[in-house]
């Protein structure tokens, strides 16, 4: 290059230097993924298409407003939807070849179309109860959302919370015993939060005070809580089921909200739930607002991004981390109570079954944002419930394969869609002052 055509820029204090020139980094990830799914669609819905009529029931018998069941011819619907999928894949390939980005809505539309096509195919000759599918999905999502909220708070303040699983399990265990013995559901919920906080105390003490690797402490805590609750369950709870693990006193009643619960489809899904679920709605909104609009949230995020900067403006980093990790434990513990008090009605050995780790994935998939993490948790919950609904109505896919579905969705979501995202800069790093 010659000097004459070099850019001339004046560096006045009132004018920011122009942004660097940019070029487009081509990413073929989306078209390739769409292509693979399109091939699957062609094979499954056309080549091995099934004959019959697929039904989708949209109302339950107790609904105030009854919506008729939708019926669709299986093969024809499959063909139409597959054509649409192929068209979308081609459209994304066209976009990338023209150096244009593939927007999120393309991915969303593709995913929804594929899901509808799959459900139609799986339901040939049967009827899928849509409200039942969604109610179950919300049910399975509740502990995931609580766990993810705990994860978001903990990671935003700079402590990686691998112990969500342990906090959920501790909450489930303690709330069952306390609710069973006292017969007071409120005490059960409070004790679940206390149990989560206790697990958090250990995590916080070791990682903040003694600088032990946060991931290792978290893993050890999960093993510890699993072992402890399993031991006490088989040695104590099973011998005194009436007193300590009595589903009659543990299970919370459903509280339909008048009016709202009569909304078609959404009403039964969202507003005929137990008190824990209503607390969840409030918790998501409050955490979201507080994290970004209040002094608490500003300081919390500062500590998780740049603890030294927070320290130099007089914020006590260790204390902020300690109490917010504890708060995260309380929220996750409440989610644990849902397993016993909201859903099953009694404690079982290892009943969280990895929900804590799915919640952790939801935190990352949701990019450390309470709302996005909630949506991610709902997606994972939906995948889990889809699996059980399909095995009930008799899907042609082997049940062992279907059991992988929630975890497959998790892996695809975290590895494929998320890719490179920036979490809180100081998450996982102990803050050591000299």
């Amino acid at each position: 290059m010659s000097i004459q055509d070099a850019p001339v820029q004046h560096n006045h204090p009132d004018s920011l230097p122009p942004a660097l020139e940019t070029t487009v980094v081509k990413s073929w990830k989306a078209p390739i993924a769409f292509g693979i799914f399109s091939i699957v669609a062609i094979l499954l819905f056309i080549a091995f298409g099934r004959e019959g009529i697929s039904g989708f029931r949209l109302s339950t018998d107790s609904d105030f407003v009854q919506i008729p069941t939708i019926e669709a011819p299986t093969r024809a619907t499959g063909v139409v939807l597959t054509v649409l999928l192929v068209a979308l894949a081609a459209y994304s390939a066209f976009l990338v070849s023209r150096n244009r980005p593939v927007r999120l809505w393309v991915t969303v539309v593709f995913a929804v179309l594929f899901l509808v096509a799959f459900l139609t195919w799986a339901a040939a000759g049967e009827t899928i109860p849509v409200p039942g599918l969604l109610v179950g999905a919300v049910g399975l999502s509740v502990p995931l959302v609580f766990g993810a909220l705990g994860g978001v708070i903990s990671e935003r303040v700079g402590v990686v919370n691998v112990a969500i699983e342990g906090q959920l399990l501790a909450g489930a265990f303690v709330s069952a015993i306390v609710a069973s013995v006292t017969g007071q559901p409120v005490l059960g919920l409070i004790s679940a939060m206390a149990a989560g906080v206790l697990v958090s105390f250990v995590l916080a003490a070791f990682s903040i005070k003694y600088f032990v690797d946060q991931v290792i402490v978290g893993v050890v805590l999960n093993v510890l809580v699993t072992g402890l609750t399993s031991f006490l369950y088989s040695q104590v709870l099973t011998k005194n089921t009436d007193l300590l693990n009595n589903s009659a006193t543990i299970r919370l009643p459903r509280l339909p909200i008048p009016g709202l619960s009569e909304i078609p489809i959404l009403g039964p899904v969202l507003f005929r739930q137990t008190i824990i679920v209503y607390i969840l709605y409030v918790a998501v909104a409050v955490v979201f607002f507080a994290l970004f609009k209040t002094r608490w949230g500003l300081r919390l995020r500062a500590v998780g991004e740049h603890p030294q900067a927070a320290d130099t403006v007089g914020i006590n980093v260790a204390r902020t981390r300690f109490w917010n990790v504890s708060l995260a434990g309380a929220i996750a513990g409440l989610g644990g109570a849902y397993f016993t008090m909201g859903s099953v009605g009694s404690f079982n050995k290892e009943m969280t079954a990895g929900a804590g780790f799915i919640a952790l994935a939801a935190v990352i998939f949701g990019r450390w944002d309470p709302i996005r993490a909630t949506l991610a948790a709902l997606l994972f919950g939906f995948a889990s419930n889809l699996q059980s609904v399909l095995s009930i109505i008799g899907s042609p896919v082997p049940s062992e394969f279907m059991l992988m579905l929630p975890y497959l969705v998790t892996i695809f979501a975290v590895a494929g869609v998320v890719g490179r995202v920036r979490g809180p800069a100081a998450a996982g790093k102990p803050y050591i002052k000299s």
Binding site: I3, H10, P17, L20, L298, A309
Partner: protein
């Protein structure tokens, strides 16, 4: 406000970083704290700011003894600090950064962002800063980020303002602007402590100068003292501030880079269509403020960058797209800019570090086995040759001083058969004695007929070493000028301007 430090002593294990330091800063003066890297200036200021606890000594403000448990107390007492590494949260806006720690909020804790914005506007107007309260700090250039730090301190009514090495990241023009700001602050009655190791700046703004060496106050000087006087006070002996070198006798084009571009993961052209060449036996210095693409350029040459366009040839053969190992094998010696991160393995011994990039064959490895006797001999000889001061060749490199660490890197890279030598920030953070040594070796390498590239953000170093200077700004080369180009011209070029005096493209800058 009058600030007094009495007998401050701070120890880290066996190391005494501050040894009974006394210092008095009068109201409304600019007091310079001059000393080499590692002399204990920053430690002293961190004690003052409540970040470190001193073992002995006391801090007095207006003759009242203070007890700071943390930075919060220091700030409440009226001490503000502009840190060397900015204490700003990159993902926050300017207003959020300024309010952090003393937020205005209602009873429910909901932030009053409006008040914070108003505060930022008010202070930036007072000093003519032009800072947008809603800009994300990450998007701001370093010069503006520094102003945010100053606003942050002033928003808490700081009466004593400490600037810790504030000019390290600034262009010469930005440095001048900072000096103006300091004088403004002084006129407004603020006392200023200015920490630096750059002599020129000290003489320009200081009212008084205190020199610190090895944790002790070694003397006071007036701003009228000469550079040589200040330097010898700082180092403890007479120092040569200039590098002696004969005129270059350049040979043929040895290393040619043409139309090189590097794209970062966001699609930004961090190196944008860069072309230059280096001839055998000359030093090409690549000048520019940190973060204008120099790092990515050296990484692209070494094969460490992924999205690279354009051509790189060494002795007529293309080395673009080769692996790092192949690049090294083709005869490029490289001193990376961050020696602790990229240049050395801190836990390894000096000897092990000396063979770090030669572990795949003779003479260091035979039949998969380390040749320890040969290594010992080699390491001892090189330690001597490069004046590495240590307990012995089995000392872990992490325990050495910065200067000695850099000598180990230099020894390793220069003991191979080189076709090109490239050193990035070769004297960053090392003592004056080591700087002299490193500069001498770089010139000696040039004189042996090897093309040399020196990447440096220090204008002094560029001027001292270069036969030709390429100035980088925002990913492009603004121009390639002769080594004797005046500093003010270089300064303008570092800010992206092409002065009229640089009219025709110098030879060798052909596209």
């Amino acid at each position: 406000m009058k600030l007094e430090l009495r007998g401050i002593t701070k120890r880290f294990g066996a190391l005494t970083a501050n040894d009974h330091i006394d210092l008095t800063i009068e109201p409304g003066e600019i007091h310079c704290l001059l000393g080499e890297n590692g002399a204990g200036k920053s430690t002293l200021m961190n004690v003052l700011y409540g970040l470190y606890k001193a073992e002995e000594g006391e801090i007095l403000l207006d003759d009242v003894v203070q007890h700071f448990a943390g930075p919060g107390d220091a700030m409440a007492a009226g001490i503000g600090m502009v840190h060397q590494h900015f204490m700003l949260i990159p993902v926050f806006t300017v207003a959020e950064n300024v309010m952090l720690g003393h937020e205005k909020a209602n009873a429910a804790g909901v932030l009053d962002l409006g008040a914070a914005r108003e505060k930022v506007r008010e202070i930036s107007e007072r000093f003519g800063f032009h800072v947008d309260p809603d800009a994300l700090v990450d998007d701001l250039p370093v010069g503006v980020q520094q102003r945010v730090e100053i606003i942050k301190a002033l928003s808490r009514d700081a009466k004593v303002l400490v600037f810790d090495e504030p000019t390290a990241v600034l262009t010469p023009q930005e440095t001048d602007e900072l000096m103006t700001i300091m004088r403004q602050l002084k006129a407004a009655g603020t006392s200023i402590v200015f920490i630096t190791h750059k002599l020129r700046e000290v003489r320009e703004v200081a009212d008084r100068i205190t020199v610190i060496r090895l944790g002790k106050v070694v003397g006071e000087a007036s701003p009228t003292a000469t550079n040589a006087e200040l330097a010898s006070l700082m180092v403890g002996r007479a120092v040569e501030l200039t590098v002696h070198k004969d005129p270059a006798t350049p040979g043929a084009d040895a290393f040619v880079v043409s139309n090189l571009s590097v794209v970062d993961p966001h699609g930004q052209l961090v190196v944008n269509n860069v072309s230059f060449d280096v001839r055998a036996g000359e030093i090409l210095a690549i000048a520019g403020v940190q973060g204008n693409g120099q790092t990515e350029l050296t990484e692209a040459i070494m094969g460490l960058q992924q999205r690279v366009r354009g051509e790189i040839t060494l002795d007529g053969k293309s080395i673009r797209g080769l692996s790092v190992k192949q690049v090294l094998a083709s005869g490029i010696g490289f001193v990376p800019e961050d020696r602790k991160e990229d240049g050395l393995v801190g836990e390894f011994t000096i000897a092990e570090n000396l063979m770090l990039d030669r572990s795949d064959g003779p003479p260091f490895v035979k039949a998969g086995t380390l040749q320890l006797n040969y290594l010992k001999e080699f390491a001892e000889q090189k330690s001597k040759e490069f004046d590495v001061r240590s307990q012995g060749i089995t000392t872990p490199v992490g325990r050495l001083s910065g200067g000695n660490q850099q000598k180990v890197v230099l020894a390793r890279e220069l003991s191979r058969d080189l076709r090109l030598f490239m050193a990035a920030q070769p004297t960053r953070g090392i003592d004056v004695g080591s700087i002299e040594f490193v500069h001498k070796r770089i010139v000696a390498t040039r004189d042996s007929g090897i093309p040399v590239i020196v990447v440096s953000t220090e204008l002094d170093e560029v001027v001292a070493l270069a036969d030709r200077i390429a100035v980088m700004y925002r990913g492009t080369i603004v121009g390639i000028v002769p080594g004797d180009t005046p500093r003010d011209v270089l300064g303008l070029m570092m800010a992206g301007e092409v002065p009229d005096s640089v009219i025709s493209p110098p030879e060798g800058a052909a596209a």
